[in-house]
Subunit: 203 residues, 2 copies
Amino acid sequence: MPKQRDVRAQRDLLSNATWQVLAETGLPGLTLRAVAERAGCTTGLVMHAFPTKKALLLHARDLLYERTAARADAAEAASPDARGALAAVLGQAVDLPHGHHDESRVWVGFLAAALADDDLAGRHRAANRSFLARVHRLVAACCPKWTDERLERTTKSLVALVEGLNVLAAADPQTYPADLQQAALRAALSVIPEWGPGSAVSR
Amino acid sequence: MPKQRDVRAQRDLLSNATWQVLAETGLPGLTLRAVAERAGCTTGLVMHAFPTKKALLLHARDLLYERTAARADAAEAASPDARGALAAVLGQAVDLPHGHHDESRVWVGFLAAALADDDLAGRHRAANRSFLARVHRLVAACCPKWTDERLERTTKSLVALVEGLNVLAAADPQTYPADLQQAALRAALSVIPEWGPGSAVSR
DNA sequence: CCTTTTCCGTAACGGTCGTTACCGTAGCAA
DNA sequence: TTGCTACGGTAACGACCGTTACGGAAAAGG
């Protein structure tokens, strides 16, 4: 048997390169040659690892989702109660000290691409609904007496606020500094009672 | 003197075509040939009306700003008091009945492009700060006793919520229907007292 | 050590992009 | 009506895109 390769490592390497190129030069700069240069190889390897550019794009999108989901899992697991988990999950989504500043940029790029690509749109919807379900679960744990309608409205409002802050901060970080984002989130979370009856996280 | 043309009408025609193409096919589909076809002419006229593609893009961005500013002006002028004006201005920014659905799509497209283009980034910041100033003025009129810090935080939170709703609805209108957006906005506006001391709009 | 088979760098292809040069032509002055 | 000039349609250019074909290199089995 001739030489073999680590397929998964290659795909991750290329997805990371895709992610970096997207953060630096935006969607128009995302070319196979730019990705290959960033990954330290040629387009030959890229086209052997992924059959087409779209497949690479979709895999990079999945990678972004996995990262954010893993961070959210970690934030949730490190919190003792539902209220704290809610604050931690939403807080890590907003810009941290010198956090994943360009993760927001990449997210915006994929979002804009999703508006014209059905496959990317599907990934976006799945990811966002997954995040919504997570927040919904935590809000429901904090506020077991709320009606479903109020739970849904509050959940989607919190998520919209967080994503809005992310998007606006990505384009104008001066106007939306990190401390203001955190303060805005804290104010929005004040509608959630500090010690809900079911304060233990149910998972 | 030989034949002359209506420069402004041409620029508006082409900017509208740019806007439509951007809404339909997104940024990657925005080509001079697509714009020319949509406008019913050839690339020759486009390149005579605008020296370069970027100039066309910037003009289309300005057009988007003028439209949103005019709509906000109208919403504000039609409201008797500051509280109503605030609700109207933010409400028209969120998706109306069968409103400017693709205006959000265009906005997202320009936002993503602004992340990699300094000129577009400048336009975005100017437009967003103008919107922030408008909302800030209305919130301040409703809540004259608030501290500057609270005014700023509330203003930016409201704007972030509205933009977040817009962005998420553009990519997943099923999850973010118009009535939910309006309900979310209404809930967020509940922090503003119904009849503030200075209820008259000061302009 | 040599063969064999997979891997991946190289280079080219067709297509489309933004941009440019050129020229037929439509409208106004005389 | 005639001539002149700015307008704008046509077509080509160079660059770069995604994709493909092919050949040299490298590792595992004999």
